[in-house]
């Protein structure tokens, strides 16, 4: 089983977001970057499927700045076999289709049975890449998969929707985006981290994979024009007195003032 897993290089979820001096991008000073947490579930799923099949390869891929190589190395340290990075710092603010074109071109060359990724890149939170990559590859897709079974060239995938679960069935190859809850991602072992340093990590340019320089610059389909912080929520009122008094006052306020209950 050959599986391609896309990993996105994103700011740490612990990070406080500050607006950069251009007013449109984030201030990257001192910012720690990580693999998007949902992508770790995709890597874990790929490793389990490869190991269950007894043979095959897991190739982790990405489109991002040079530093994204370190993020792909995390996938290698977890147990993926090799990595391909399309390197360009402009991918983060590019339109989703440009990123998808780069990833689809890399995936296409691998002729995989499965293309996996997290259900969203935490941060931009667009959830666009999986359906776009599938469309560009001419493959079916399922997003936000919480349970997956594969056998005999067919798959069954569960996805949680509002108040229900959709059960999708179909044939491989397929592009799947993975939600939390599907598995428990392993930690990279020290041995894994050492081994990852020796694994192949190829770097390509956008031009190598057919994404023109213009598409990442002036010719982008979408522009990030501004970034702002939401209005700060002031600290509200703390109730005083014994428990009964506090609870009584809270209920009164929610009922009479806020009219919420």
């Amino acid at each position: 089983m050959k599986i391609v897993v896309a990993i996105k290089h994103v700011p740490d979820t612990e990070a406080r977001i500050k607006v950069g001096s251009d007013g449109a991008s984030i201030d990257e000073t001192g910012l720690k970057w990580i693999a998007s947490p949902f992508d770790e579930y995709a890597v874990e799923e790929a490793l389990q499927l490869r190991d269950a099949a007894g043979s095959g390869e897991v190739v982790v891929i990405g489109a991002g700045p040079a530093e994204a190589a370190a993020t792909l190395r995390q996938g290698l340290a977890m147990g993926a076999d090799r990595a391909v990075l399309v390197e360009d710092a402009r991918f983060f603010y590019a339109d989703g289709l440009a990123r998808a074109e780069a990833l689809a071109a890399v995936a296409r060359a691998e002729s995989p049975d499965l293309v996996l990724m997290g259900k969203q890149g935490v941060g931009p939170d667009e959830s666009q890449t999986a359906p776009m990559v599938a469309e560009l590859l001419g493959l079916p897709h399922v997003t936000a998969v919480t349970r997956l079974e594969i056998s005999g060239g067919r798959f069954t995938a569960h996805r949680e929707i509002e108040g229900a679960v959709e059960v999708h069935e179909g044939t491989l190859p397929v592009v799947l985006s993975i939600d939390k809850g599907i598995n428990e991602p392993r930690y990279a072992s020290l041995k894994g981290i050492m081994a990852a340093k020796k694994k192949a990590l190829e770097t390509r340019t956008p031009g190598d994979v057919g994404v023109s320089d213009d598409r990442l610059g002036r010719g982008a389909l979408l522009r990030w024009e501004a970034l702002s912080l939401p209005p700060a929520r002031g600290e509200g009122r703390r109730f005083e007195g014994d428990v009964d008094t506090q609870v009584g006052e809270l209920v009164r306020v929610l009922h009479e003032v806020e009219k919420l209950i």
Binding site: P11, T13, A15, I17, G96, L97, V122, G123, P124, S127, Q128, T129, A130, P131, M132, A134, E135, L139, P140, H141, V142, T143, T146, F155, R159, I161, E162, G163, A164, V165, E166, V167, T171, V174, K180, G181, L221, L222, R223, W224, E225, A226, L227, S228, L229, P230, R233, E235, G236, R237, R238, V243, Q246, V247, G248, L250, V251, E258, L260, I261
Partner: protein, 329 residues
Amino acid sequence: MATNVLVFVERRGGEIKRPSLQALSAARELARSLGGRIDALALGPGAAATAAELAPLGVSRVLACSDGLLDLYAPEAYVAVAERAVAAAEAAVVLLAATSMGKDLAPRLAARLRTAAISDAVEVACDPDLTIRARRPVFSGKAIATVAIPSARPAVVSLRPNVFPVPEPSPGATAEVVELVCPVTAADVRAACVRLETPAEQELDVAEASMIVSGGRGLKDPANFALVRDLADALGAAVGASRAVVDAGWIPHSHQVGQTGKVVSPNLYIAVGISGAIQHLAGMSSSRRIVAINKDPEAPIFKVADYGIVGDLFEVVPRLTAEIRKIRS
């Protein structure tokens, strides 16, 4: 030149999902700026019947495809019909609700049409120079991005549910129904939803609820989640949870609120025994009113709470539940 707005109308069991109706108010503004009309796309058996509900809300034409292949969600078939609908509507903008289905279909359609998509917008407008501009929360709401699609057409935009109002109906309005032929057959569909599993005990989904009661590590034991459930039950609220208790296996991930869970903005959010990690705050800070119950007066959750009770949740929550039941009976 294309000047119309096409709204994808999501249906489940024949019912139009409310966020799709909310999209019609954004569609009205855009259609006015563009000087065009609103077409709606409805799929699956009975699709044409949606015209009666949609016409009073400003829809001029309903593009309906009632093929049985479209009864449950089939991304390949849906995108094929949507592609035809974009052409039939001469759409400059396609709007979808950013629901599970909309978030799945919008990017596939955008890629099919080699155009740009904006996800999860909370504001959208069209400039006099016809740039489509939107604001959308990023980093789970830690920041708001303004993004623009200058010329790619159609602009595909998904809208965050429960941000836009359902438009006021104009009684008596009618809409033309245009039947579309499904361009694919069952043999062309390689993957699709084959069944919908609805839990026997229907739980409110935090993503759709107008009130949420969430529990965190302060509950000390998974069995104590009963306190949170009782309070939620008294309010008719959904049950949410912090990442810590989801990771500990106390409650399924579908309840998680925060950066790797769901981003929510209910009218009322009650945080019980949640200290307020930055990832959790990002996921619920846009709630209209926030109540925090925590024994630690320094807990970061109080920094975003409108109302706070510093105290032992095991004393506070049962009393609160009882008081709410009293007021509601």
